[in-house]
């Protein structure tokens, strides 16, 4: 008994490129711009510009509530954005009070990481006077509701356990009404949407939100409805770095994003050419 084997045509092979080959190519396209930055141009999007302008327009002495609500997995994307925004807040030298909390249990550790990158002392900013972290508060939306209603009842110490009364930044900070702006960095939609429900809806606190790129489409309705001033993705950190004039990890990632996106477009085109060529040539011969 003989067996016949069908020889795979070039189109069969191109239509079903092994994922190992795809991943290898993707890895190469990641590494090249990381090792050797190309310097692709970076356009400033409306969302990032709106974000920048919102912080720029804050009156002196404004209090900003910042939620470091992302996990370690989201740090490579959201960390650069958080750092760039802190550069902006401190560089304004307008006595802005950056009061940070975390709805993510890893938040305080990631905040430490971000602050090490920012180096607030270069702006003359001091912990307890210009910025503070009041710790991880469990409960998600319950935490947001609680600190919105009565912050001092929900938390009485900073993230190191020191009483909030010892810090001048916390003077006059009682509830959501004490804040002129809310910023949230998160990898979890429950947090980004939760702040809309617990702070924007009852207190109308202006709200800026930075999330993972894949979350932006789901957050767009809130932006369109005016509940969030601007929704950006962490991948747009490079644009923020251009605006605040502190190039760092974000701008480096912009090259990687361009290269890998080009590669993905190439894969899409290749896959479709192979599909149709195979179809019109009558399949494998």
């Amino acid at each position: 008994m003989t067996t016949t084997t069908q020889k795979k045509s070039i189109w069969d092979r191109l239509e079903a490129v092994p994922r190992e080959a795809l991943y290898a190519l993707l890895l190469i396209f990641f590494i090249i711009p990381m090792v050797n930055p190309i310097g692709f141009p970076v356009p400033i999007s409306d969302e990032v510009r709106r974000w920048y302008n919102t912080i720029d327009a804050l009156p002196s002495g404004s209090a900003i509530m910042i939620d470091f609500g992302y996990s370690g997995g989201g740090e490579p994307e959201l960390g650069p954005m958080a750092v760039a925004v802190y550069h902006h807040i401190f560089s304004r030298k307008a006595g802005l009070k950056a009061i940070c909390m975390s709805t993510s249990i890893e938040g305080p550790l990631l905040w430490d990481k971000a602050m090490a990158e920012v180096n607030p002392s270069r702006y003359g900013a001091n912990y307890g006077k210009d910025y503070i972290h009041i710790g991880y508060i469990s409960g998600g939306e319950i935490a947001m509701a609680s600190i919105g209603k009565d912050l001092r009842a929900a938390v009485s110490t900073d993230y190191k356990g020191v009483s909030l009364d010892t810090f001048s930044i916390m003077q006059g900070i009682a509830n959501a009404g004490s804040f002129q702006l809310l910023i949230c960095y998160t990898t979890g939609g429950d947090q980004s949407e939760g702040w809309v429900r617990q702070w924007y809806t009852p207190y109308k606190t202006p709200y800026l939100c930075s999330v993972l790129a894949m979350m932006v489409p789901t957050m767009l309705p809130y932006q369109k409805a005016g509940q969030i001033i601007s929704v950006t993705s962490g991948a747009q950190a490079g644009q923020m770095e251009v605006l605040v004039k502190v190039p760092a990890r974000g701008i480096k990632s912009a090259d990687v994003i361009t290269m890998t996106h080009l590669l993905v477009v190439g894969f899409i085109v290749l896959g479709n050419i192979a599909y149709y060529a195979k179809k019109f040539s009558g399949g494998s011969k």
Partner: protein, 217 residues
Amino acid sequence: MMRLVRRQIPIGVVIVTSVIVMSDYFFKITGTGPLVTMLTNWGIILTAFTLGFGAINLFYLHTRHIRRRTSGQWFFSIWLLLMVVVFAGTGILTGATSSTYTWLYNSSYFALSATVYSSLGFYMTSGIYRSLRARNIEALLLLITGTIAVMRNAPALAVAAPILIDMDKWLSEFVVTSAQRGIMIGAALGAIALGIRTLTGRETGFLGRLTEAEREG
């Protein structure tokens, strides 16, 4: 008696606390402010408690694996419990924000977490390559919108071809936003319905394991 304790009383507690907290959103009732603040703070405490409870559960389940020498599992259980002890011990002895704990976190969990998250990019690439094929009209629409979104999010391409920004903006503002709104409204109604079933005692999942009689109330 068991039915009263395991079903009626918990449902009663849920109804009373829910009505108080929900009323606080709609009505300004003098005297209830501190009560609502207290209830929401209890919620924070309970959530924090469940974290600790989760750790206890972890110990219970994994010590069972070790005791029973579950094949292919028990040595991983030993390693897991060892890591829990190391992290907890370091946190308690040196503080959860100390440099030692931070180093431990950065060199283990953070690195692993970021790595697994990053692997999503690879999975998405193979998914895109396989699925964005113009097999029919719906697939063609998916292909076009997906390609526009990918190209627009490449910064250099957006600079080279600004029309991508306008096309993506149109898609986002009209197509994506309207679809997401529909999904959100549906999901919100589902959540409201579950809340109503819970408040009327028709949803007893949160009560844990009940007997047939207790479930029927």
